[in-house]
Amino acid sequence: MKFWGVRIASILVAILLSFGLEKLGRGTDSFTQQLIVFAGLYVTLAVSLNLINGITGQFSIGHAAFYQVGAYSSAYLGIKFYPQFHGNLFVWLTLMALVGAAMAAVAGLIVGLPSLRLKGDYLAIVTLGFGEIVRIVIQNQKALGESGGLNVAPHTTEQPIMFVALLAVLCIAVCRNLLKTAHGLPFLAVREDEVASSAMGVNVTATKVIAFALGSAFAGAAGAIYANSLGFINPDLFNSTLSISVLSMVVLGGTGSITGSALAAMILFYIPEKMRDLKDVRLALIIGGLLAVGLAVSAIRYVIFNVHKSAAIRAAMHVGIIIGSVVIAEIVAFALGKIPALAGTVEGAKLRLVVSAVVLIVLMLVRPQGVFAHHEFSWSWVQKLMGKKAPSTEVAA
């Protein structure tokens, strides 16, 4: 009884929170509303990729393909059938999300099959190739608007904030419950050791295929909403850059951590969006920044590998290094700014993906397991922070 009580309560809280977000979002301008929607979509994408990459350990860098399949199936059906549809927009979006999810799941199955034979970097390049194939095939279909793209029929003038929030919550909930129950153990087992897990009776094939299908289904649902929210789609929106930025969210958050993916998705979505507003960034500052990042990384690596003091001292050293490198960046930027050749400025928008790249490299050098590693946010963790000892309920690390 207690189980169902907690469950129903959390579902109600999720709906209430989404509703609250919707009410809050309605007060802002349409651009901000769209940003909120996109952030929710990125959370869905990152968490669903994390199911494939982090939890099952099948390294995929073609997530944009599933997103695209969802977006195009929703757009195509919307153009065909929305004019005859007389119902609530919410119902239509639900239908489209389901269709997008189904289509993407089929695509996920198709990719999952070669993954049965491939591992590691080969699988990565096959998923990348699959993403490109999907994009090129769609680009050559007359019915799908070729490279010109499609104008999606129900262009939701009111952004579906609540819908997206619910989708993201659903995605997180499915992944979280999977990990908390016995159904999720095979996924973790496959990640750790395929041979051993198959010896223990885990159906490795089915696990991998389910991971791919489930992860891509959520991406497809997100894609369906994306098409309706943006009102216009073309194949260029789904290139490999998108896959790689979602990948960097998963990597930043910590491969295997749902909390990490969700938070990293929002942060890595928000920072580049903010950088669009930066008109002029000084060239000298960029060079100084890159230099300082390099210095900080090597200093932190030195601390990690060579300093064996208490955790507090090492944390203080990390903070010191970071502050020091910010100071160095400013000094170098000031000095370089005196050189006339480096006096120019760069639009902030151009730096957006440089940030992603630097995050990927620095993270791999300093903390390859990601910020959260495999830890999750949990109440027992909060209680521990407050000083109470609580029994851990985690099924697996």
Binding site: G120, I125, G129, V137
Partner: protein, 382 residues
């Protein structure tokens, strides 16, 4: 729907072979790095891109700037661009290895792969800040003194068609003569009816003669080889031969093979593993530099941007897998076949799918022959 014209097939095959030379050069870099480190060097395509930029900047500093018309090409300039691009790319490759890959060597392979993706992204988008300057970025094709084409006749014109054309020629001359005689001294814009009739017969005869000549000419087949691209293919084969010699018959090559077999055992045998890995990166990257220089120079109208290396890089990787990764002749074979298959897709009437064929090949190879064409056919475990 696709109209397949068999008579153009030889030309398409040859064009594909010439384009494939670039893929082959880039694939060599992938295959060597993979052979030694078991790492897909995602940044290899970006090294290729930087090589094209080095080529471009050297050609600009030699005076081949946009809008500046120089009389002709020079072999010296070409050699300078070639060497400059190779040296610069070798340095860049060594630098990337030292800064990004070496610290990751003790980590799981996926970490190195993510680092490689990061480096590639950084070079693509960081390059946009530093490399673009608003000028049209393509190497002036006039740098190369080897202009024009070689033409190889395959099949002479059909003799029957030629004879038919000859027969029509006499008829045409006769009708023209008749018309000109009749029209002599008359107002050209106000001819009597019988002269008009003569004129139209003469015009018809001329038309059918021209048709016959065209048909006869079309029945002959010849292959056109742009001279620059022939140089490209020749250089590729030379470099491959040099590389094969280096790997198979020199001490350093033997060390490379040892490292690729077993890291630890090689270091126990007194091989400096780090310097061999660096050497491999220098070698592979400078080959990419050579390829980039030739791709930018000999394919006229090639636009360079910071994404210049993405597709060639991916395709060359596929070529390396196709030929058997870790295998030098395999990489060249794979590259040439890649160029050919790409051209065949265009020839068959699906130009939109040109870039997809590489990945289709990749998936097919990995599904059915994971070792590649020339590679050992062992299925990889873990």
């Amino acid at each position: 729907m696709a109209a397949v014209d068999l008579s153009t097939l030889p030309q398409q095959l040859v064009t594909g072979l010439l384009i494939g030379a670039i893929y082959a050069l880039v694939a060599l870099g992938y295959t060597m790095v993979y052979g030694v480190l078991k790492l897909i060097n995602f940044a290899h395509g970006e090294v290729f891109m930087l090589g094209a930029y080095v080529t471009l900047f050297i050609s600009w500093s030699l005076g081949y700037t946009p809008g500046n018309v120089l009389a002709g090409g020079s072999w010296g300039a070409l050699a300078l661009m070639f060497v400059g691009s190779m040296v610069a790319c070798g340095l860049i490759g060594a630098l990337i290895e030292r800064l990004a890959y070496r610290p990751m060597r003790s980590q799981p392979r996926i970490s190195s792969l993510i680092t490689a993706i990061g480096v590639s992204l950084l070079l693509q988008y960081g390059g946009q800040i530093f490399l673009l300057d608003g000028r049209p970025q393509n190497v002036d094709p006039k740098v190369s003194p080897a202009q024009g084409n070689f033409s190889i006749p395959l099949k002479p014109a059909n003799s029957q068609l030629l004879a038919a054309a000859k027969a029509l020629e006499a008829n045409m001359a006769a009708t023209k003569d008749a018309y000109e005689k009749a029209a002599e001294g008359k107002d050209k814009f106000n001819l009597p009816d019988d002269v008009k009739k003569l004129r139209s017969t003469s015009q018809d005869a001329e038309r059918s003669y021209n048709d016959a000549v065209g048909k006869a000419e079309n029945s002959s087949v010849s292959i056109i080889l742009p001279k620059g691209q022939v140089i490209m293919l020749g250089t590729t084969l030379l470099l491959m031969a040099g590389l094969t010699y280096l790997v198979l018959y020199t001490k350093r090559g033997r060390a490379m093979r040892a490292v690729s077999q077993d890291f630890d055992a090689a270091s126990l045998m007194g091989i400096s593993v780090n310097s061999i890995v660096t050497f491999t990166f220098i070698l592979g990257s400078s080959l990419a530099g050579a390829g980039a220089m030739m791709a930018a120079t000999f394919q006229s109208g090639t636009k360079i941007d910071t994404f210049f290396g993405v597709l060639p890089g991916l395709k060359a990787f596929v070529a390396a897998v196709f030929g058997g990764i870790g295998n030098i002749p395999g990489a060249v074979l794979g590259g040439l076949l890649m160029g050919i298959s790409e051209n065949l897709v265009v020839w068959a009437g699906y130009p939109g799918y040109k870039d997809a064929i590489a990945f289709v090949i990749l998936i097919a190879v990995l599904m059915f022959r994971p070792g590649g064409l020339l590679g050992s056919n062992k299925v990889e475990k873990v």
